[in-house]
Amino acid sequence: MGRFHRHDDGTVHDHDHGDHDHDHGDHDHDHGDHSGYRTGSQRVDVLEAIFAENDARAGANREAFESNGVRALNLMSSPGSGKTTILSATLDELGGDVAVGVIEGDIATDLDATKLAGRGAQISLLNTGNGFGGECHLDAPMVTRALRGLELPGLDLVVIENVGNLVCPAEFDVGEHAKAMVYSVTEGDDKPLKYPVMFRAVDVVLLNKIDLVPYLDVDVENYVTRVREVNPTATILPVSARTGAGMDAWFDWLRRFAAGAPTD
């Protein structure tokens, strides 16, 4: 059940006191009295980050990517913004020249993976539903597990489709080199203000479903301005995964990213 304690290889996890800066020196152990009564409380200073184990695993994932010359992108959004649709168009476009692996985390079923199959990419499914917290974000140990379903040496790029959620995915480093976000014009332009932590964390925002602008009372410039207000540096790309409008700019961005070149 513990997301930070899953041991896919069957080993029992043992906290390695050697690589933390634990200070156990101020304990005054007296194990002589086992009567079950408290013989006096004492304070132990800890000062350990609660995400320390996740971040260590994320670092290991990043090393695995880098030692194989792979660049990793964490793709996030609220549910239904268009991550899978954008990803399938992307696989069709890049198939020839960039070797792509997909970690598919946003699944209650294998529907998304079915949509992505047959497009020349390696796909590793993550069943995020079987545990506490698993429905709302991916963490680094989950991605470690998914990596076993990919042949990293043959890949240039891994895209991780995160769970549809604007809150917690931004908090968990999974070992990616950049964070991308899909934000569709059907969601309302107040989302950057309501979820500033997520919007500030991302390197590129795909402003999706611009084909629907004529039917909605919205304006793309306004969306761009709202994103800019919380994230002055992100690349913002208005696109329609449906019509293909703007998608070339996204493909260019991703090609540069996969090649390890500057993206802005």
């Binding site: 152990h29 409380s41 004492q42 304070r43 800890v46 609660i50 963490d139 932590v197 800019r228």
Partner: protein, 121 residues
């Protein structure tokens, strides 16, 4: 949102520092930018501590108000609004976060009584 998973992570950190002793108090420091709902964390803790063999461990939360340093106007300010991360003085988004990302176990109170589950007569 994922407070249950967070409590499991807290319990792991506590265990590695408690050295098998009875845990009375767990102190956690949380920055406002961590998007943690304190009531929800406390509620989840009341469940997780039983499974983690520390059924009497009280969770004490210390919250840290977010603060930013503005690159436009140069001022440091605390963020009082719940949503915004803009500089309160000039509304610029070009800010560096000074405080608010904290999320750590700061200290424990332990006592010499053994945890109940491991007690053997």
């Amino acid at each position: 949102m994922h407070e249950l998973a967070l409590c499991e992570a807290i319990a792991d950190v506590v265990k590695s520092h408690a050295d098998g002793q009875h845990v009375d108090v767990v102190r956690v420091r949380i920055g406002a930018l961590r998007q943690v709902v304190p009531e929800s964390l406390s509620f989840c803790w009341s469940m997780v501590r039983d499974f983690a063999d520390m059924p009497e461990a009280e969770l004490e939360l210390e919250s840290v108000t977010a603060a930013v340093q503005c690159r436009s106007c140069g001022h440091d300010s605390e963020i009082t609004s719940q949503w915004s991360l803009l500089c309160p003085r000039c509304d610029s988004a070009d800010v560096a976060v000074l405080r608010g990302n904290e999320f750590l176990v700061t200290s424990l109170d332990v006592s010499d009584r053994e945890p109940q589950q491991t007690q053997k007569e």
